[in-house]
Amino acid sequence: MKALVFAGRNTKELLRDPLSLLFMIGLPLVMLFVFSAINSSVPVAQFDIGRIGPGIAMFSLTFISLFSGMLLAGDRESSFLARLRAAPLTAFDFLAGYTWPLLGVALVQTATCFVAAFTLGLPVTWNVLLAIVVLLPVAVFFIGCGLLMGALFTANQVGGSSALLINVAGFLGGIWLPLQLIGGGFKAVADALPFSHPVEAAQAATAGDFASIMPHLAWCIGYAVMVFAIAVLVFRRKITR
């Protein structure tokens, strides 16, 4: 109950920041339309809507780390968190209160990207619902990254480190760079990280290639569990007692 009340506050904080809405929903949509426009003029397989749509849906989730981190770091720096820590809230109330609104935002982000992709030619099928579900573990991963950064860094440091994470996820996610063509060490690094796997899992789900989903999804779930577990430990140590 208290977790829900706290989640309500965090939802308002997120939704009342026009900049966060612009980055979390507006920017990915602009990118989707730009890549599609390029594909219309000069057809590139990488920018085919069946590939770029799920890719941008995953990329939109990277911004969650920025805004979850900023929210937590801002609460820490303003002493608002000290007030909350003196209140009868449990570690679960804190974690759920910060996480639930971000999961909601993640669902809205991915759904918005896919709806935009429909207007650009992505076939309207039930597979898209599966793709949205497939992207949830990586959403949890980025929320965990944000909570970790927010618990450890100042708001300014969160801004810098999130920008780095967003760029790394963009380049190593194989969204606009064809990892197969680049190959070598770059692809080996990309394969070891959790950014290209959710893209490929969502692309496979959208295409109805169900057999290809699980190998990639396993990476996403593994990373999400690991990062969120670390975030919970750090959170309990630094924020609650």
Binding site: R9, E13, S78, S79, F80, A82, A86, A87, P88, R241
Partner: protein, 243 residues
């Protein structure tokens, strides 16, 4: 039963001892002012009593509950207005108050009523729907104190509650505090000695993490052999010669 009982409460930050074996008892319903120069350890004491900082050694009982072993029970009975203004900037004044009331267990309807009453008591009603970030610094502080009082805590910690408030607002705040005096134990830190003298039942003076004097304003003046609380404060904290 004492509202607060500290037993050799000590806090070290690396090699620096911020609070040194504080043993103190505060009665239920008492207004207790903790005074001291900057860095004397007042805020560290409050943070430990609110379960925000773990003591290096010693313990404290809040209404019989240990801050070490029963922080959950402690937190249900206290509330805090931190030294820095601590409000959710994107929420309105009413939303901030309702949030705190609900986190302490009130229903939505109860929280709405409590917020209305608290806004009336602290002259915030005309700004009820304004976002907190649009308030002046003084109004934000008033809201911060209101958020500490809205849960009707049995023990409330106010860290420099009147800092930056104008005279009228300070009076309104003290009126609100005097209304709950007796039912609520109020622990406050302040640099306004006249407030401590006028409103506190007892005053504790800290210096370098130690409680160097404890008593009523008159008793402290007698101990220091001076005529005013300010002179007593300067004598007891040893800061008179530096200024």
């Amino acid at each position: 039963m004492a509202a607060i009982q500290t037993i050799n409460l000590t806090k070290d930050f690396k090699s620096r001892r911020a609070v040194d074996a504080l043993s103190l008892s505060v009665d239920e319903g008492e207004v207790f002012a903790l005074l001291g120069a900057n860095g004397a350890g007042k805020t560290t004491v409050i943070k430990m009593l609110c379960c925000l900082l773990m003591p290096t050694s010693g313990d404290a009982l809040i209404l019989g509950n240990s801050i070490l072993t029963e922080p959950g029970a402690v937190k249900r009975t206290i509330n805090l207005s931190p030294q820095e203004t601590a409000v959710a900037l994107k929420l309105s004044v009413a939303e901030n108050l309702e949030l705190m009331a609900r986190l302490y267990g009130e229903t939505k309807t109860e929280a709405r009523l409590s917020a209305k009453l608290m806004m009336a008591a602290l002259h915030l009603s005309d700004r009820a729907n304004d976002r907190s970030k649009s308030l002046s610094g003084g109004m934000q502080r008033r809201l911060s104190v209101a958020m500490a009082l809205i849960s009707r805590p049995r023990v409330v910690f106010l860290d420099e509650p009147t800092l930056g408030l104008d005279v009228g607002t300070r009076r309104a705040l003290w009126r609100a505090l005097n209304d709950i005096k007796g039912d609520t134990t109020i622990i406050l830190t302040t640099h306004y000695l006249e407030e401590a003298q006028a409103h506190a039942d007892r005053i504790g003076i800290m210096r370098d993490g130690r409680l160097v004097a404890l008593g009523t304003a008159a008793e402290l003046q007698l101990t220091a052999g001076v005529d005013t609380l300010e002179d007593a404060f300067l004598a007891l904290t040893g800061t008179g010669d530096e200024r």
